[in-house]
């Protein structure tokens, strides 16, 4: 740690606020909400880090990013080295700097959180990563020795992209197969532009291609090729096809016109650019009163998108309260600023439609919180006789996703758990030799950083596995 600045001085610096687009303006556009810290504020924020000997933040990070190291290099004016250090631990920092739930990970356990606010690790990760995106020429390019081993990766979400990068670095010949026409997984079809600009994902994909990774879009594994077919042509396989099957509420009226799964709603708008209709050919219903059911990141993305498409009232309908919302704190805060209405302790029991079968409302029940369940969260209980009708013309269901059986159904030897997720050990190894898996298909709907962590661990295990196989 440099003696440039004392701990006492560090403690005196207050947390820097993220500059953001004005709430009223941004509720009508799709541009990124957070504008990024300018250099002066970033350096000030980085100086708040106490450079702990035993950094708790690293334990809080699912992939153990060496946070004090990259912050120290940053404050020492060595931003290229800071970027290198960060990229070595985390392949997609420009993404995670924007979408990680830092408040429950690194920042939750930062020592500075005990007295005041934690170091803005997410903001700084983003700062350094954005610098790296703009200055790729200042980062060393590693040209590995080709090993002659061929690896197939199924799915181009964060797990697949991370594994591809790691394996290419080790000299393997990597091909990603992606079902959709664009690479990126949830990062391109789910998470909206105002939170994660698509350009960032496109740059990461390009970077991988420059490193020699081949990406074949429009290939649906389970249909175009099966896993047994890939096994014949590749030395190892990494399955990272996500948890893309939407769950519906299973209430009457759910097939009326105007009811969407969040996946459909967001895919139409993000992947297919329906906000730009008719310049783009894919339409989306532009509801005036949009009710989004759920309380996670997906629900927040859908409701804020509805607002941006011009909804007069965009509402979250959630059966617990504000404190239980599983979404990132920043997303909830931004939603509140943008005028999103929250209907807490409310559970839908029926979608109501008119004689033309268009949605006109949602019959709901009020709930109260009861005893804590096994997960420690208080269980919502129905208040009898509390039914009421919520006026709305569009319903977006964002209550979760399950594993999609399309791929696994064509590979019966692959062991699954009772929810249909692929069973894999801590290195991603599945019941089939040479076949690894990670990300949401193993964990169920989780997070970007966990998917990336799985991709990295699996890549290392695959490298070991490939070394044991004769040429």
């Amino acid at each position: 740690m440099s003696a440039r600045i004392s701990t006492k001085q560090r403690m005196q610096i207050t947390r820097q606020a993220m500059p953001e687009q004005d709430a009223a303006a941004r509720a009508a556009n799709f541009l990124e909400v957070n504008l990024g810290l300018p250099e002066r504020l970033a350096l000030l924020e980085a100086d708040r880090c106490l450079q702990c000997k035993d950094p708790r933040c690293m334990e809080g990070c699912p992939v153990g990013v060496n946070i004090p190291k990259f912050l120290d290099l940053l404050t020492a004016g060595k931003i290229a080295e800071a970027a290198q250090s960060l990229l070595c631990d985390n392949a997609l920092p420009a993404v995670t700097g924007r979408v990680c739930p830092q408040e429950t990970q690194c920042e939750a356990v930062c020592v500075r959180a005990a007295r005041g606010l934690p170091v803005g690790v997410g903001y700084l990760e983003r700062y350094v990563a954005d610098w790296a995106r703009e200055h790729r020429d200042q980062l060393p390019q590693i040209k590995p020795q080709p090993t002659g081993k061929k690896v197939a990766i199924v799915g181009s979400g964060p797990a697949g992209l991370t594994a591809a990068g790691e394996l290419a670095k080790l000299g393997h010949d990597v091909t990603i197969y992606e079902a959709l026409h664009k690479a990126g997984g949830v990062l391109v079809y789910g998470i909206p532009e105002f939170r994660l600009p698509k350009k960032i994902v496109a740059q990461e994909v390009e970077r991988l291609q420059e490193a020699g990774v081949k990406i074949e879009c429009n290939v649906v594994i389970g249909r175009t090729y099966t896993i047994p077919e890939l096994q014949k042509n590749f030395d190892a396989i990494f399955i990272a096809n996500g948890a893309g099957l939407p769950v519906f509420m299973n209430v009457p009226g759910e097939n009326f016109k105007g009811v969407y799964s969040a996946n459909e709603y967001l895919t139409r708008i993000n992947l297919m650019a329906a906000y730009d209709f008719p310049r783009s050919d894919t339409p989306v219903l532009q509801g005036q009163r949009v009710a989004v059911v759920g309380g996670g990141n997906v629900a927040m993305d859908a409701v804020r998108t509805a607002k941006r498409l011009g909804a007069k009232e965009a509402m979250i309908v959630y059966r617990r309260t504000h404190d239980e919302l599983p979404a990132r704190a920043e997303e909830v805060h931004h939603a509140e600023q943008e005028g999103i209405r929250f209907e807490f302790l409310t559970a839908p029991i029926e979608v109501i439609g008119n004689d033309k079968r268009w949605v006109t409302g949602m019959k709901c029940q009020k709930m109260k919180l009861g005893e804590a369940d096994s997960s420690g969260r208080r269980r919502p209980e129905v208040i009898p006789g509390s039914e009421f009708v919520l006026d709305c013309d569009t319903v977006v269901v964002a209550i979760g996703t399950k594993s999609n059986p399309l791929l696994t159904a064509t590979c019966p030897e692959l062991k699954l758990n009772k929810w249909g997720n692929i069973v894999a050990d801590e290195n991603g190894a599945t019941s089939l030799p040479g076949v690894f898996a990670g990300g949401d298909i193993v964990r169920g709907a989780a997070t970007v950083i966990l998917a990336m962590g799985d991709g990295k661990k699996a890549a290392q295990a695959m490298d070991k596995y490939l070394a044991t196989r004769a040429k």
């Binding site: 079902a179 959709l180 026409h181 079809y189 879009c217 429009n218 290939v219 649906v220 249909r223 175009t224 090729y225 893309g244 099957l245 939407p246 519906f248 759910e254 097939n255 016109k257 969407y260 799964s261 996946n263 459909e264 895919t267 139409r268 297919m272 650019a273 730009d276 209709f277 008719p278 310049r279 783009s280 050919d281 894919t282 339409p283 219903l285 079968r357 999609n404 059986p405 399309l406």
Partner: protein
């Protein structure tokens, strides 16, 4: 990129395109479809694989021009390309291995019936096809289907074959002959009418549903259809289902979700076309 290898106009608004997609040409089975995405800003639309040639890598699509995307596709010429073709998607058709199958096709649905009849005949099943169109020039795939068995043609105006609906001809066949299975593909009202007819005869009936789709991989749920009390995703659970269980009213209704947008999209395309013409005349 997938090059157009051949093009043929089959009826006033139905065009056959042979598209280069070698992997799909090799492995496709009856009943499967592809998702086609013409260019960056285009829609992703599902089209049934009507035929294929594993040697040339050609996949045959038979397209009825009904809206913007299909009109753009049929405007392509040999040598032009389609950006993305994904597939083969959906489950292959449920087959029988002996007996007598009645294949009923209405309009562009006749092209979808073609690979089914092709497979049935290969299995050694006797195939009778009943196909229909508004009038003579709307009847397609008659010669192709004749290779697999008897073909009865119906036209609404009697300008070719029998006068009347496909259901009339089908009813006669069901009354006079033993039929083990019925396949029906066409507009929703036609499939509903066939299902209602065959229910009386107690003959298992398979229909191919055409809900609005996006990804075609089970990810969005937009293609959901109801079978009795069950919800199914047509792109992964279908697109073919037991016609006696399908809720056709709901399907028909959901197909109308974007009607206003579709008209706007077409009007906009026409306006662009007009402007382009004006500009090219000026220059």
């Amino acid at each position: 990129m997938h090059r157009i290898l051949a093009k043929q106009t089959l009826s006033p608004n139905v065009t056959r395109l042979d598209v280069h997609a070698p992997r799909i040409a090799q492995i496709r089975q009856a009943g499967q479809f592809v998702i086609v995405h013409l260019a960056e800003n285009s829609e992703r639309i599902p089209l049934t694989i009507a035929d294929s040639n594993p040697e040339t890598g050609a996949v045959t699509l038979v397209i009825q021009a009904v809206g913007k995307s299909t009109n753009e596709l049929v405007a392509l010429n040999v040598g032009d390309s389609i950006r993305d073709v994904a597939g083969p998607l959906g489950h292959p058709t449920e087959m029988i291995s002996s007996g007598h199958a009645l294949c009923i096709g209405g309009g562009v649905g006749t092209a979808v019936v073609h690979p089914i009849a092709q497979s049935l005949q290969k299995n050694g099943v006797r195939v009778t096809s009943v196909i229909g169109g508004r009038s003579k020039e709307w009847v397609i795939f008659e010669n192709e289907l004749k290779r697999y068995g008897n073909v009865v043609v119906c036209t609404d105006d009697g300008s070719y074959g029998r006068k009347g609906f496909v259901t009339d001809a089908a009813k006669e066949i069901l009354t006079n002959e033993k039929v083990d299975i019925v396949y029906a593909v066409g507009p929703v009202p036609m499939m509903r009418a066939v299902a209602n007819l065959t229910r009386g005869f107690g003959v298992h009936t398979i229909v191919s549903l055409n809900p609005v789709m996006i990804d075609g991989t089970g990810m969005c749920g937009g293609c959901r259809v109801s079978l009795g009390n069950e919800t199914k995703f047509a792109c992964v659970d279908g697109p073919e289902f037991d016609g006696h269980k399908v809720n056709f009213d709901e399907l028909q209704d959901r197909l109308g979700t974007y009607r206003e947008f579709e008209q706007k999209s077409l009007a906009c395309a026409a306006e662009n076309c007009r402007l382009e013409k004006q500009l090219s005349q000026k220059s």
